[in-house]
């Protein structure tokens, strides 16, 4: 485990009520593994106790943002503020429920002029929850 709970705040600017990642398990090369335990306080939980799909997109985006924050920290650079530039080929297989623990693999790809390509895949246990490509625009 590299970072958990409030330690994540060192890596990204997002704060309550929209913090959608609570663990970085490991990071090596272009790939990091992150996590989120879904609580009833989660901003994207609907009346049926399940997460709305945009919450999964935000989880994956913040996973990449925190990973980039980790890399900036290691390089002694200031913390980047990242925005989602594009979501492509996002697929939601199931909406996670309160109590589920999500684990996500994010892989950073090509980068041009502050726009980074990335892919993310989120699972709950062995079950695929969502996957997507994304572009993160860093200011």
């Amino acid at each position: 485990m590299l970072y958990m709970d409030e330690q994540i705040f060192k890596l990204m600017p997002q704060r309550d009520p929209i913090v959608m990642v609570d663990a970085i398990y490991d990071a090596e090369g272009d790939t990091a593994h992150t996590g989120l335990t879904v609580t009833e306080r989660n901003y994207f939980i609907e009346e049926d106790g399940r997460m709305a799909e945009p919450g999964l997109i935000e989880h994956i985006a913040q996973s990449a943002s925190a990973f980039k924050g980790h890399l900036a920290l290691l390089a002694g650079q200031p913390l980047p503020i990242g925005y989602i530039g594009e979501v492509k080929k996002f697929h939601c297989y199931l909406r996670p429920a309160v109590g589920d623990t999500l684990t996500t693999t994010v892989t950073l790809g090509a980068e041009v002029n502050g726009v980074t390509l990335m892919t993310g895949e989120t699972r709950c246990g062995d079950t695929l929850v969502a996957d997507t490509q994304m572009k993160i625009f860093v200011e």
Binding site: G85, E86, G109, A110, E111, V112, N113, V115, T116, L117, K135, F137
Partner: protein
């Protein structure tokens, strides 16, 4: 890979990725115009080339790659 092989491989991939007709991809055509690239989709071009040919185009080199002819030459001279 010869230049002809590069052209044969990359044109259909670009046509698919950027949803344009392959006939629009001619050696003299300006890439940005033909593929309707903007600040966001430029990285898609770089990713397609990197993934297909293992050729990285650094941001500093991008201004030299204007036409498809430039792109074919770049891939040909930088391939492993």
């Amino acid at each position: 890979m010869t230049k002809e092989e590069i052209i044969e491989k990359v044109n259909p991939l670009l046509a698919e990725e950027f949803e344009v007709e392959e006939s629009e991809i001619t050696p003299d055509a300006v890439i940005k115009d033909a593929l309707e690239l903007d600040s966001l989709s430029l990285v898609d071009l770089v990713a397609v080339i990197e993934h297909t040919f293992k050729v990285k185009i650094p941001a500093a080199d991008l201004p030299t790659v204007k036409t498809f002819e430039d792109l074919y030459n770049y891939i040909e001279s930088h391939q492993a």
